[in-house]
């Protein structure tokens, strides 16, 4: 017979239904409900790690005192403090950052969203972010959108739900709607856009000077003696295509060279497209003497294709690319290109975030432009021009 857990009498105990598979009882005399014993609950209690309470117990003080000692507050005597520090070391106490963050309403973590970690540009940018963030005591959480809008949105949501203190983001190619970046969606945390930028006022941004880079490359080709300079651009809808093409046109204009429509091509960045484009140019009655590829991989494609077609680089055709310092230095001939300084871009983005945290509501969103740098190598050196007297 079942006994009441309160009065220990079995007389007035009635069955009172089932809850979650267990029989419940009701004691009429004490008017008390209770449930049958749990069927040998497996404890499987995860190993308990020392908490502030454990340290407090060991020393014989209150948890709040331990907290004060550990955080170097005042209101504590040197002896107690030392005793607490000793006990903490002995118990191998490690503060639970989760609880700290929950209490302090700050995680000391910043979220980073990039299209693809495997692309050297982004890996380097993230590295720059991490260096600055780490020095400032922030951890970094990285997500890849893989150029998918849906993934980007879910990345941002996950980071915000994780209560990151800030968001550094380079949008995917697909991204055209920015509702997921709204202040309400992002809980008013500081946001910095970099590289591919959210084109709207009142946001912090770190950008590449596409125009100047393209201008410098083109001017360099002109000064090397090239007179028919082709440009291999990406889809016309892309901002980078437009701006780099504008820089190209600017240089042509400055040096009084005509703009020939047949030398301006927009492709989808695929190698086959680049090669097809090259062949079309080579078949012209008056082919170009230089090609500026706004994408570095296409520049490699061009060099390889030219070689297999028996053309020499740079003698028969000068080639210049854009971005990716490392690869450009390895290939033969070395590729003239523009170093976009992705590491600095990352650093700058992190600095903008830190500044915003520091200044709070006094912070004014602003746009930073990271200077790019023309790196001249073999692929463009025709040596027929006036040399290198050019300013970027």
């Amino acid at each position: 017979m079942v006994k009441c857990v309160k009065c220990s009498l079995a007389d007035d105990v009635l069955k009172a239904g089932f809850v979650r598979g267990r029989q419940r009882f009701f004691c009429k005399s004490c008017e008390y409900h209770f449930t049958a014993e749990r069927p040998a609950g497996v404890p499987s209690r995860k190993r308990h790690h020392a908490t502030i309470a454990d340290v407090a117990r060991q020393v014989g003080v209150a948890p709040s005192t331990v907290s004060r000692a550990l955080n170097g507050h005042s209101d504590i005597s040197p002896v107690t403090r030392q005793a607490i520090l000793d006990a903490a070391r002995q118990l191998d106490y490690q503060p639970n950052l989760l609880a700290q963050s929950l209490k302090n309403r700050a995680t000391n973590t910043i979220g980073v969203v990039i299209p693809d970690l495997e692309r050297p540009f982004f890996a380097t940018a993230v590295s720059g972010i991490q260096q600055v963030a780490t020095e400032a005591g922030y951890r970094v959480m990285i997500c890849q959108s893989k150029e998918s809008y849906a993934t980007e949105v879910s990345n941002v949501q996950a980071l915000v739900a994780s209560q990151v203190d800030g968001l550094l983001i380079c949008h995917s190619r697909e991204t055209e709607n920015f509702d997921h970046m709204s202040s309400t969606a992002c809980r008013d945390i500081p946001i910095v856009h970099f590289d591919r930028v959210y084109n709207q006022e009142n946001v912090s941004r770190v950008m590449i000077d596409d125009w100047s880079g393209a201008f410098a490359v083109t001017e360099h080709l002109v000064l090397e003696g090239c007179r028919r300079i082709a440009i291999l651009a990406g889809p016309a809808s892309l901002l980078i295509s437009q701006q780099r093409q504008a820089g190209y046109l600017g240089a042509l204009r400055k040096h009084g060279l005509p703009v020939e429509e047949e030398l301006i091509a927009h492709i989808d960045f695929r190698a086959e497209s680049a090669v097809a484009c090259l062949d079309a140019w080579l078949a012209l009655p008056n082919p170009p003497d230089a090609i500026f590829s706004i994408n570095y991989t296409n520049a490699f494609d061009l060099i390889l294709a030219l070689r297999s077609r028996g053309r020499r680089v740079p003698e028969d055709m000068a080639i210049a690319g854009f971005g990716d310092e490392f690869l450009a230095s390895l290939i033969e001939p070395g590729l003239t290109t523009v170093d976009l300084h992705p590491y600095r871009i990352g650093q700058q983005a992190a600095h903008l975030f830190l500044e915003q945290v520091k200044l709070q509501e006094r912070f004014e969103p602003r746009t930073c432009v990271v200077k790019s740098e023309l790196i001249i190598r073999q692929s463009s050196l025709r040596g027929q021009g006036q040399g290198f007297q050019l300013a970027i």
Copy 2:
């Protein structure tokens, strides 16, 4: 005169010292201490975001009911559930993962420590980790040790303090002491070592099959007709040097080729060292006809140096490298190399972690070896041998 906050009488109120800069008082009649008003405390209350309590208030139910509704538990009527879901949407409620993690004792986050994100091998491995982790509902937190032991240790500590559910690590070159990976230091969370491996029993590891890769490369060179195959290895102390050299020796032995000490070199991976080594070999009375570089960058160095010295690759000297698929395919001539499949390594490491989480204490630590793959390109194709009938 100051009035007591309890009895509202000013008569028996005495000053009672200062606490943290504020005057304190003591009311004799009620025997009550109190402190002067806080000097216009700046609220600066951060924007409050909807919590479970807010949703509960709006619907008129208890927080626990909201939690049940949101987590799809039973014990809730369809109408209440719908009302709660509607209210949650209306208030733009987002669960606070911090609080959830604290309560659930699980963060759904895994920590990754790698030497350098900018190295394509690691970037790709991380990408593989992230793909598997994301699909399993885990977030990823990445740290770089930059090949520094001290940084690695602090990375591990930071991740553990952040309560990550697991740790995937590739050790720095400096790391020889593994105390920071002990079960106590890491709070018994699952750990998987990958690539550079913790050489001890009873840990989970994902490794490259250095031996087989090196064997395959060397055998390929033999079958291409090379008879004096040199190996450009790294520091003899490095495990990868030893194992790749062992694979090289194994292939020579299998095909009855003599091992010539003068064709085995250990360098420090710097380009100048590689070139110096090449020149020494070229100056031999009987120079090698092939070089296997266990490091892909050195392979590039060799190709460039050979070209500048008027030697043809592969006609005068066959070259083969190890690792980094992408670069090897871009260069001219294409570099024969071993694809280490870093993406798979990352995936495998993440899978090992997931398995350990799933099986709990029934999990047996084990070592996985990810098959590498010989990729044959122009740089080794002498065509004087028996062709490609080789098995890796």
